[in-house]
Symmetry: C2
Subunit: 253 residues, 2 copies
């Protein structure tokens, strides 16, 4: 038996028949064959693909993105690595949440009934104050941090807009390279990485190629960075990370 029908596939991989219909309809998983009666017939290859879909879906990636990922057609390993990064990022978020709950519990225990101000601090969007505090904790003593603080202090609204625009264009370059299927070691990708480095060096703090690597690593280990890159394009965090390392390799020669 070289092919399976919907019901068999459904049992095998733990999805519903309706799901298979849906995936067929949106073109995510079109069975390679049909019987004369119109029955969907899935091959081994189809099953392998479905398996990938199922795993990616566990990460709650939109089906559209899953399709792009799978159609980018790199080995399974690339997908798996990306998945790992994504899940780790979610893990990080939840860990943060636990910490927030603990803080709330502690406060509650000590009978401070938690004012509005504190609420915001505890659960707010978790990016602003909390991040600032943590950033300072992590890098407060470093020269880079001080330099960055000094420079940005006098930035006007217009400056910030320019900064954002520059960053957007760098990101766009990364996305373009990624979509074009260029490897992270390609000219396009490493050029984008170099722009990235220069942008930061211009706007925030001196940044050599070695330090740039550290930043790259953070992009895939800190959930907040990962999330913001993944929000732009699936797999982008990992790609940017790889491209920066590749660029630093080039400049090390």
């Amino acid at each position: 038996m070289a092919t399976w029908t919907v019901g068999q596939v459904a049992d095998l991989l733990g999805v519903t028949v309706r799901t298979l219909h849906h995936y067929d309809q949106i073109g995510l998983l079109v069975p390679s064959e049909r019987s004369t009666a119109g029955y969907r017939l899935y091959t081994d290859a189809d099953l392998a693909r479905l398996q990938q879909v199922v795993v990616y879906r566990r990460l709650e990636l939109p089906l559209e993105q899953i399709r792009e990922l799978l159609d980018r057609g790199e080995g399974t390993t690339g997908h798996l690595r990306r998945q790992r990064v994504a899940v780790m990022s979610r893990l990080g978020e939840l860990t943060e949440l636990v910490a927030a709950i603990d803080r709330a519990l502690e406060r509650e225990m000590s009978d401070q009934p938690a004012t509005t101000e504190e609420l915001k601090e505890l659960f707010g969007d978790g990016f602003k104050d909390e991040y600032q505090a943590e950033a300072q904790e992590r890098w407060g003593e470093t020269d880079a941090w001080k330099q960055s603080a000094a420079r940005t202090k006098r930035y006007t609204k217009a400056d910030w807009e320019a900064v954002k625009a520059e960053m957007d264009s760098v990101n766009a370059a990364f996305v373009a390279a990624l979509r074009a299927g260029e490897p992270a070691t390609s000219e396009a990708a490493t050029a984008a990485a170099e722009s990235h480095r220069q942008h930061i060096a211009d706007r925030f703090y001196d940044l050599d190629h070695e330090f740039h690597r550290g930043l790259a690593d953070m992009y895939i280990t800190d959930p907040r960075f990962t999330r913001s890159y993944e929000g732009i394009e699936a797999g982008l965090a990992q790609y940017v990370h790889d491209a920066i390392h590749a660029n630093s390799d080039r400049h090390a020669e």
Copy 2:
């Protein structure tokens, strides 16, 4: 200023105005007041409730369930504790997933092309084979495990159905008590716990009150158990856990 408008609340807790409208519409969070012009006005208490909603929502509970939970009328601490348990459980699930991905990566690295069978084994529904194997690893040497294996080996399909029916009725008792708002230390809840113990003692292995506590702990630490209880009713895992401990306390006197 004792009340806030939608926009202020939105900024404060990091939700959108539309979300607040929605919550009002479905009765999840109806602002305590309205201005003469019809503006929604949120009080301190409303904010506290919203904060709970926000946290529960991060756990991806359906809004309907969140409403039930909040209307059950327990203190903030109770909610926070439950939330902690739930988040931890989700963390466990994700950790499992990372482990699964790692296994797949390893296999991929060692150039085993991974057949469908193997994939299924790796990612399958994660409850059947995998659980069996793990269970044996954890308890394979214990008397309880051997006893259970010996007894259940000869169970027929009809036996299994009876077992399931018994378990369902015990669970129904827990749910009824929970819904009625009975505390976990109540007669109803501890009686259900006692039935639970006897059911297992009858069907699987001898189970005294001390060992029963161990089982209870597992219900809130092992994500698979947590998930299956939470799937029946939100908050049930914690409730069953508490009821079992309360019951064991009674019998220890």
